[in-house]
């Protein structure tokens, strides 16, 4: 019991928690942008898969790491464009299209992987992002190691939250985005195109999701394998609800969730096989459902979420 508590005070635990949180932060911010503009993006799981592969494969084929991140973002944006074209101007069901995008993106990734690497039995490795301790700050005990001795992509994840929050709440573009998700006619009345705002938001959001996927292959691990996203996308959708569509709260949710995930891995080692390991692996998913139930009563969805907008229609 004492040991179980001691874990919480070790630096390695918090380092792991922040590392686990990073891909979730990217993807949660991506989903948040889409939903704030009024579009539920269920393509997230597939788009993360694409990003994980595109980034890794770029580096594997000789590109440098940041080019890999850019290619991943671009690939994500392309699937975002497809999603947005079908759901925004054409107004098709966001549920059906989203699942379709996930199926398409995942299968295209697997097809490409098999085509590009037909012979491999164990996944080839790349040289991933290395930790980049920030001088001074990383010397602070526990907190410093956890926050300031991570890889550059983790810093980028935290910067993304700040940028998303700033854009959403401090710029005219953010105001238009939030309004597109709450009251699209008001946006149109200002002479701004709701279609344009929503499509842009879905593309930008999808790019972030893809970078979240790329984090897994380029920073957390160093190779791509099938089913590696493993429901993280769906968890991010839960995190957006849990964070009541606010970047800061969603960040907190992602870290809380990741801390729990890191904790269950350590508990699993402590328990010494008395409890089946599957019980521990289930916890993140169970926790996500519990979190949803907890906040559902007071959740204030963007009012126009999942409602297609047609110009001149009321």
């Amino acid at each position: 019991m004492e040991q179980a508590l001691e874990i919480l005070f070790t630096a390695s635990f918090w380092v792991a928690a922040i590392r686990i949180a990073s891909p979730l932060i990217f993807a949660t911010m991506g989903e948040l942008i889409c939903e704030r503009a009024g579009v539920l993006n269920l393509g997230i799981e597939g788009i993360m898969t694409v990003g994980a592969f595109a980034g890794w494969f770029t580096v594997y084929s000789g590109g440098d790491l940041w080019t890999g991140v850019a290619i991943a973002a671009l690939a994500g944006a392309m699937f975002g464009l497809l999603h947005a074209t079908l759901t925004v101007p054409l107004g098709l069901s966001q549920h059906v299209v989203g699942i379709g995008i996930t199926l398409l993106a995942t299968s295209l990734t697997y097809f490409t992987y098999r085509l590009a690497l037909p012979e491999v039995t164990s996944p080839p490795k790349i040289e991933p992002f290395q930790p980049l301790p920030i001088p001074g700050l990383s010397q602070i005990p526990v907190v410093g190691e956890a926050l300031f001795a991570q890889t550059p992509l983790t810093y980028l994840a935290f910067a993304t939250v700040a940028v998303v929050a700033w854009v959403l709440y401090r710029t005219p573009l953010g105001l238009a985005m939030r309004a597109a998700g709450e009251n699209p006619s008001a946006v149109e009345a200002q002479g701004i195109s709701v279609t344009g705002i929503r499509m842009g938001a879905v593309m930008a959001g999808s790019a972030l999701m893809a970078v979240g996927g790329a984090f897994l292959t380029m920073s957390a691990f160093n190779s791509f394998f099938f089913e590696m996203i493993n429901g993280r996308g769906w968890i991010c959708i839960a995190l957006v609800v849990f964070g009541s569509w606010r970047p800061g709260k969603a960040l907190l949710g992602a870290i809380l969730f990741a801390a729990f995930d890191a904790y269950q891995i350590r508990l699993q080692q402590l328990s010494g096989g008395v409890v089946p390991y599957q019980v521990f692996l289930m916890m993140p998913y169970v926790l996500s459902i519990l979190a949803l139930v907890l906040v559902a009563r007071r959740a204030t969805y963007p009012k126009a979420l999942m409602i297609p907008y047609q110009k001149g229609e009321r």
């Binding site: 269920l42 497809l82 079908l86 101007p89 054409l90 107004g91 098709l92 069901s93 549920h95 059906v96 299209v97 699942i99 379709g100 995008i101 199926l103 398409l104 995942t106 299968s107 295209l108 697997y110 097809f111 098999r114 085509l115 037909p118 493993n230 429901g231 769906w234 968890i235 959708i237 839960a238 609800v241 089946p276 599957q278 019980v279 692996l281 289930m282 998913y285 169970v286 996500s288 459902i289 949803l292 139930v293 559902a296 009563r297 959740a299 047609q310 110009k311 001149g312």
Partner: protein
């Protein structure tokens, strides 16, 4: 641009759009085949031959279509009432678990009693599994898409736990698999010596039954009304939440039958790879059928044919069999787009 409703389309126009959707799918697939360095025509020929070119191929396609009919029906019924059940995969596995628990000798009964008992129990388990997310939706307002998706992962881990624990086959040489179900719990084969089993017949019966429910019963009418406009349905005195609960029970039960039929009809035991995503493919099957229960049979056979044909083609032509998954996903997206264009026209400005 804006979308304007079209006047009722002619029969030719109604048929032209699905054909266009299939053509678009073939174009996408051709590009992938070319990327793989093979010839699209010979690959499509091999897929068609592998799916329907011989008695063996045809029977294999129908065998593969069986679980897809069940999951397709489960999705079609749920989506009709706008209950977004993306958890057919989990319900399938729960149905399979119940089949193994009751079918491996726990109930020493003759076939005629044992099989109906297992069917009812499996359906009840699948129904209960979807009842959870349905209650969360109607009582707490929790979106069922996320909960059903997350349950897929939870249930698969649960099955893995059972297969390494209480359900582990003592004769399984350490593999995570269950014992085989006893002979009395097995569905007989339709043709002696072939893999096609009576689960296929059960699937056809289920499809017809669902068609009757959707078109001829009050419940079916209420489900369509709730799916069309829940506010209006509530205003018209339809108990929306109760209808959603009934829909969930029906949908979960249907998906569980897929697990039952795969274990009792085909595999004989439960493993972690019982379903290569039948639950997710069921969504495509249902959408291609435009949520029509009888259409589900046709679209399940079509989708199964692509998978079976692509497996055969992949061995012969060296194009990765994942092309089948790409084709199925593309068919889904192009079909929903085609349906839209058959009902609306685009007006620029």
């Amino acid at each position: 641009m804006r979308l304007e409703p079209k006047p009722a389309p002619s029969l030719a126009a109604t048929l032209a759009y699905p054909v266009a959707a299939i053509a678009a799918t073939l174009v996408v697939a051709s590009l992938l085949v070319l990327a793989a360095g093979a010839s699209p025509f010979s690959v499509f020929y091999l897929v068609a031959k592998g799916a329907a070119g011989s008695q063996f191929a045809l029977l294999e396609t129908l065998t593969r279509a069986t679980p897809l009919i069940f999951t397709g029906l489960a999705v079609a019924v749920a989506f009709r009432a706008r209950l977004w059940n993306i958890g057919a995969e989990a319900q399938l596995y729960i149905g399979a678990v119940v089949t193994v628990v009751l079918g491996t000798g726990a109930l020493p009964l003759p076939s005629g009693l044992l099989i109906p008992i297992i069917i009812v129990a499996a359906m009840a388990a699948g129904a209960l599994l979807l009842a959870g997310p349905a209650v969360l939706k109607t009582r707490f307002g929790v979106d069922e898409v996320v909960t059903t998706l997350l349950l897929n992962f939870i249930v698969l881990l649960f099955v893995s736990m059972l297969l390494e624990g209480p359900l582990k086959d003592p004769m399984g040489l350490g593999w995570p698999q269950s014992s085989k179900v006893i002979a009395e719990a097995q569905l007989p084969r339709i043709i002696q010596g072939k893999r096609l089993h009576y689960g296929f017949v059960l699937a056809l019966v289920a499809a017809f039954a669902m068609w009757v429910v959707m078109k001829k019963t009050v419940l079916g009418y209420e489900m369509r009304a709730v799916g069309h406009n829940p506010e209006a349905a509530r205003f018209a005195g339809i108990p929306v939440n109760r209808v959603l609960m009934k829909t969930a029970l029906l949908s979960g039960g249907l998906a569980a039958l897929a697990g039952f039929s795969e274990v009792a009809g085909l595999k004989g035991n439960l493993t972690l790879d019982l379903s290569p995503g039948f639950g997710y493919s069921g969504i495509v099957v249902a959408m291609l059928a435009m949520l029509n229960p009888l259409g589900v049979v046709a679209s399940a056979i079509f989708v199964a044919g692509i998978f079976v044909g692509a497996d055969a083609m992949s061995r012969a032509a060296g194009v990765p069999s994942y092309i089948a998954d790409v084709m199925v996903a593309t068919a889904l997206l192009s079909m929903v787009t085609a349906i839209l264009f058959s009902r609306y026209r685009v007006r620029w400005r």
